[in-house]
Amino acid sequence: MNESSPEKKYQKKIQTAEELMQRVANGDRHAFTTLVQVHQNSILNFIWRLMGDKTHAEDLSQDVFLRVWKSAPKYEKRAKFSTWIYRIAINLCLNKMRTLKIKNMFLTPLPLKRHSQINTDSTTPENQLLKVEQTRSIFNILNTLPSAQRIAVTLKFYQGLSYAEISQILDRSIPAVDALLVRAKKNIQKKIRK
């Protein structure tokens, strides 16, 4: 395996995140800014795919990094930074989902208008509209999944994590993660057939 292989790069990135966290734990603001800049898009997209709303995703992403800063002294060097930050993000998302669920019991839910504000590379208005519709239909499918299945699908399919990494984040066994994904895929199939 040569020095520039993806695995080596990945390892290097993890080490860098851990080193940065050590500095963040000592109150190093510069290290924290670097950490935010490296992970902001990954966390933002992860939360957006879970929540299906860009405004919530932006607010929650900030909350995640705020929690990282506050909890930095408690961060254990042995833990993978990505596992740790995904756990924080998931907890905050689940809390938000619960709050929104309670709110929606009393308020009429708004349509998914924020999808139309997503920047698309398409030049023509028709293509932009198509992209918006595609996004809407994907979120319609994902919204039907129970939260655990949706998290597993997002981590696997969109974030590209392995079963082992997902099992660490969700604190479940690898066969349990496999079963979760099998059920999620079956539910998606049912939704597509309708």
């Binding site: 800014t33 932006e58 705020l66 895929k185 199939q189």
Partner: protein, 173 residues
């Protein structure tokens, strides 16, 4: 048939690239010959295709600065709250003592002079004094330093009552 069942159990992991090389080759060979498993795998592939093409969104260029600003605000708030909570017990205890003192004093006063406070609540209508004498009595009370019904009056009653009791005891002894 058993072979198909085993393969189907591993199809999801196979799709996600989570099987070892031997399993992978075995499943690939099986899919070439088994129409049923091939169909199921195609349906599984279709699930991922249906949720593909979700665009990437970009964080705000000043995202990191926004986070830092929130940290600064939160730190200031935390600092204020910590200081406030640290200094809170003394004034809170003093306020609580004053409130308890006022309440217990009022309660004590009301208990001691309850009958005097309500001159109209007499046992029988025959004992009712006329309205004029009640008004005169109450008007004169306003010149009294310890009018009936006041905390001072209650206090005097308690003190004088206990002195009277002591004196009585002294006499009897």
């Amino acid at each position: 048939m058993n072979r198909c069942r085993d393969i189907k159990k591993k199809l999801s992991a196979f799709q996600d690239g989570e099987v070892n090389q031997i399993q992978k080759e075995s499943i690939e060979i099986h899919l070439q010959s088994c129409r049923e498993c091939k169909k199921q795998f195609a349906a599984m592939m279709h699930t991922y295709q249906s949720i593909d093409k979700l665009p990437q969104i970009e964080a705000d260029p000043i995202f990191a600065q926004q986070v830092m600003a929130r940290i600064d605000n939160t730190s200031l708030l935390d600092h204020f709250l910590n200081n406030f909570l640290r200094q809170l017990p003394v004034p809170a205890a003093m306020t609580a003592m004053v409130i308890i003192g006022l309440l217990s004093g009022t309660l004590l006063g009301n208990l001691v002079i309850q009958n005097q406070l309500n001159p109209l609540e007499l046992s029988s209508p025959a004992n009712y004094p006329d309205r004029k004498s009640i008004v005169t009595s109450l008007s004169l009370d306003s010149f009294n330093t310890a009018p009936p019904g006041s905390i001072a009056d209650g206090f005097l009653h308690v003190i004088l009552g206990s002195n009277m009791n002591t004196r009585n005891h002294g006499v009897s002894l």
